[in-house]
Symmetry: D2
Amino acid sequence: MINVAVVGCGYWGPNLIRNFSNTPGARLSAICDLDTAKLAKFSLQYKDVFLTADYLDLLKRPDVDAVAIATPVSSHYKLARLALEAGKHVLVEKPITSNVAHAEELVLLAESKKLVLMVDHTFAYTPAVQKIKDLIDAGELGNLLYYDSVRINLGLFQTDVNVLWDLAVHDLAIMDFALGQEPVSVSATGHAHLAGQHEDIAYLTCFFKSNLIAHLHLNWLSPVKIRRTIIGGDKQMVVYDDLEPSEKLKIYDRGANLHDIGEENAIRQKIDYRMGDMHAPHIAPGEALKCNSAHFIDCIVNNRTPLTDGQSGLRVVRILEAATESMRRRGEPVTISRL
Amino acid sequence: MINVAVVGCGYWGPNLIRNFSNTPGARLSAICDLDTAKLAKFSLQYKDVFLTADYLDLLKRPDVDAVAIATPVSSHYKLARLALEAGKHVLVEKPITSNVAHAEELVLLAESKKLVLMVDHTFAYTPAVQKIKDLIDAGELGNLLYYDSVRINLGLFQTDVNVLWDLAVHDLAIMDFALGQEPVSVSATGHAHLAGQHEDIAYLTCFFKSNLIAHLHLNWLSPVKIRRTIIGGDKQMVVYDDLEPSEKLKIYDRGANLHDIGEENAIRQKIDYRMGDMHAPHIAPGEALKCNSAHFIDCIVNNRTPLTDGQSGLRVVRILEAATESMRRRGEPVTISRL
Amino acid sequence: MINVAVVGCGYWGPNLIRNFSNTPGARLSAICDLDTAKLAKFSLQYKDVFLTADYLDLLKRPDVDAVAIATPVSSHYKLARLALEAGKHVLVEKPITSNVAHAEELVLLAESKKLVLMVDHTFAYTPAVQKIKDLIDAGELGNLLYYDSVRINLGLFQTDVNVLWDLAVHDLAIMDFALGQEPVSVSATGHAHLAGQHEDIAYLTCFFKSNLIAHLHLNWLSPVKIRRTIIGGDKQMVVYDDLEPSEKLKIYDRGANLHDIGEENAIRQKIDYRMGDMHAPHIAPGEALKCNSAHFIDCIVNNRTPLTDGQSGLRVVRILEAATESMRRRGEPVTISRL
Amino acid sequence: MINVAVVGCGYWGPNLIRNFSNTPGARLSAICDLDTAKLAKFSLQYKDVFLTADYLDLLKRPDVDAVAIATPVSSHYKLARLALEAGKHVLVEKPITSNVAHAEELVLLAESKKLVLMVDHTFAYTPAVQKIKDLIDAGELGNLLYYDSVRINLGLFQTDVNVLWDLAVHDLAIMDFALGQEPVSVSATGHAHLAGQHEDIAYLTCFFKSNLIAHLHLNWLSPVKIRRTIIGGDKQMVVYDDLEPSEKLKIYDRGANLHDIGEENAIRQKIDYRMGDMHAPHIAPGEALKCNSAHFIDCIVNNRTPLTDGQSGLRVVRILEAATESMRRRGEPVTISRL
């Protein structure tokens, strides 16, 4: 039985609390938040759970094997580092840290301590995204041509980060999980419309070594909500609409191919279009978070590397940092750093 | 009565032929195409119309006051120049030319000859785009925040131009007509997936002096067809979906505003969201091309400047040229040249 | 403070439990279910609430002023009658009873005892339906022409009632609340596709004294889920799509009118079409159930008649009973009984 | 070469003229309309075609082998009868006649004269409906459970017929072509909202000997346009949306089945739901009318029975006549007459 402490009772923390109190092999042993009023609300329902506002105190407890961190991004690094140093396994909300240097440090620390460091890239655990990965891995899409995502709505402005760190992180996590390729450079543009605030609209292009190009459109100021990704391959193409209640994935047997045609002495190229059928596999509904917590426990118990480990969190933060830099320079391409 | 000759009987030419044969104040006097087989098809229906494969011959005719050019882009400059030099008014398909220098020359030539030079930015003459311009001019949207357009489908690959010159030209023409602002620089990215072909997917950001940012997404390789533009203002926002049969424009009373709140000694800013009603004005169907040809004749007869004159065509080509340059440099920002 | 007991912990009961434990002026004092295992699940969270499997015992308690009944339809009559006889106010799930005679008896009993008898016609308490009623009452739609509703999905077959009693009850409750008119007769058709089961698909037409006609389409066997109602008036028309997340109501300024035109000595009629704008008022999300429970308490405390009182429940059951009879006779019209 | 005369140059006639002037094996030899002004418009384009206002004169011409009748419904019978008596093959617009007796007479007359009598049930010749027929014939849908169609818009009121004869005729023609079963009785309801006009809204249920039930919803007064048919089988279900530009047919592997489960000494039935994939076959666009005219010529030349012969037109009219009768009696079921 793995004893898990949840740190942070804000927007996301209560989901973690509910899930770890239900995950086989896990025991919710403690909840931590600086705000004791928030803590108090859990005292009735979770009577045997230790509640505390003192994080260092929490880390000293022998009945805490792992901590799940759901606090503001700026505190992720410090809290995760202390936990790892105290010998605790760590699950941390995305993005893993607010800069590359901190993410690299956490990854190295977890490796040296042989502890599980997992980042909560939630979408990687949804049935729709897992189906996309399966399609790509099985070669159903052929060679990837483009990944195009729109993630916009009239939304919660974040005051501590720009719209890339808030919304693009979801797409970058999906790409990291599903595409099997890493971008080599990025170009980003955007604008901050409210004085003194971060960018509320951003466009991010990722370049790859292959023929693949990826583009993300993020916007906190859209009158309509859109969550739609198109993945083009040279065999098939997928449209993933996360707002569709039942047909989230549509797979199209469509595309265009070059075709050499001999013509007298010369060779000329002709483009053939393929307009085939569409197929929408039934995606069983399922709570991503549930798989997520079970996977974290499984990695601890069986000494496995999480699908979304610290390295994955680091790769995503590298792109976000480069994109923010490119956005400041109005689209100038920025190379993604490597260790 | 203005005598009009149509040059080019390919994809678009027949529309011009049909329209000018019906436009009050105009007389279709001649049709010109290098391919005499194409010409022959019009001989039955337009018996009094002069048909020729010889453009220079056409320009000598006294019963040709104006020419409407619907040939491949690369020939626009030469054909338009010859016509202007021969003292003919000119209507030319978009884009006006394939480079800035040529467009500038045509503009100067038309001015010096006091001839009408109009570019066929068709969308500017549609009821939907005219309604958008009215909304912006009347201040209904407030200060413009962003213009975001998606124009994608599995489409006719062009062999002579990239996807920007084929598709972005529509959006740039709409922006030139409706926004009342010109971009100062651009950043573009894209990719050519078929060996030896032009870019088939492109993303273009336009930066303005104001708070406005514009972004266009063009793609010849999308399994689904989308023609959707979102225009965000700080008062209202418009979603323009050109594929909607009846509700092409939806106007949303939505947005976010900064709001200063005094708090003890400090001033703190709070973001207020506005989630108001949506309104879809009825857009009467109407053929843009019809207005277009009537407007051309009106400008000739009454010595007026077309809404989409040579200057407008030139401004669009300036952006296309800069964007193509930026795309080659992977998003590096490129300043828009000015005379 | 009104003490409320919730009876039945199946599908809907837990919602009532949650709501009455949060409704100002109400105190959740008891929960009753024949299944003690279900009861046990509430013991932790609701420690001061009396739990019992003995309904008669519950009715004897002085700390029970009102009961909220969420048991199978067939038990509604008996449980509600016992409660009223014991001097308790009653809130009962829809439909109020499984036949007209029982509903009439409950209505008379509540009146004679001067107790509140309310039926849980949930949709009447949603912002969208209340907006529809406001539009009709304010004459915004003009004279009503038709009410057309489609309520279909691949759904939970009910084993004790046919699809009319399961699904049409929602539309009939909305109509009873919003239209201000009662049908005088009905014609219904349907079919039971699974041997030994009730009708799983049904079509119901309601005739009114006025020019209004209503039609409901109910189906448990549809591959797609649709919840859409069109209400046509001679001034405006409303499309109400309950599955739309943000634009549930669309109001169209459209219609057709007869127009007399004098023509020489005769008068001829011409039909004019009106194709005007569409308007979608923002509907704030809100839980219907919350208003519902607050309204029940308000009616008890202030001696008011509920919007959806026993009479309303009775009117709906009258139509369901007549419709079931008509359906058996393959559409033969059946007059709605009146007291 | 079959010489075809087109009779009637109103709404539909020009389509027939255009098609028969292009159909291999056919020669458009004559056009007839009472209105000589309408005729005149065709004189330029069809110089070798005989134009006349005199139908009897037309029938005497040896260069007329067949007539295609596109006049108002009330004239179909008389014009078709005269043509058959004159030994001409006949293609007539739907519905074939305005009553059953007339349709029966035409069918017998054509048989006795051994002439082709074809009714223009256009939808039967569309790729989407042919695909539906293929699916049903191949057993892909299993046993048919229901056919449900909605065909509504704010439309052209007809002054000579009610909405059933104008719109339901399309669905009944599709059903006659694709289902392979004939209804035994009908129940219909509807209402005429404009004084002195025919019913503008109608609902029609068709009962079959099998488990199949069909229902049509027709409305000339809807603010939105819908053309959607759901066909439920016990194996698969089809949604056919004629307004979808590219995915007109969606085939769902969904349904519910009864399942016997032994339980101690008793047998109990359980309902299993199947929520499988959706598949949208690519439907190549194609003009139904073109197939239609080619099929008519083919039947004449090769002495074949048309897919939509006079019998088919008669079956549809039988249902329309019974439905109109039932509608007058507010839904009372009416048996379909048989010869």
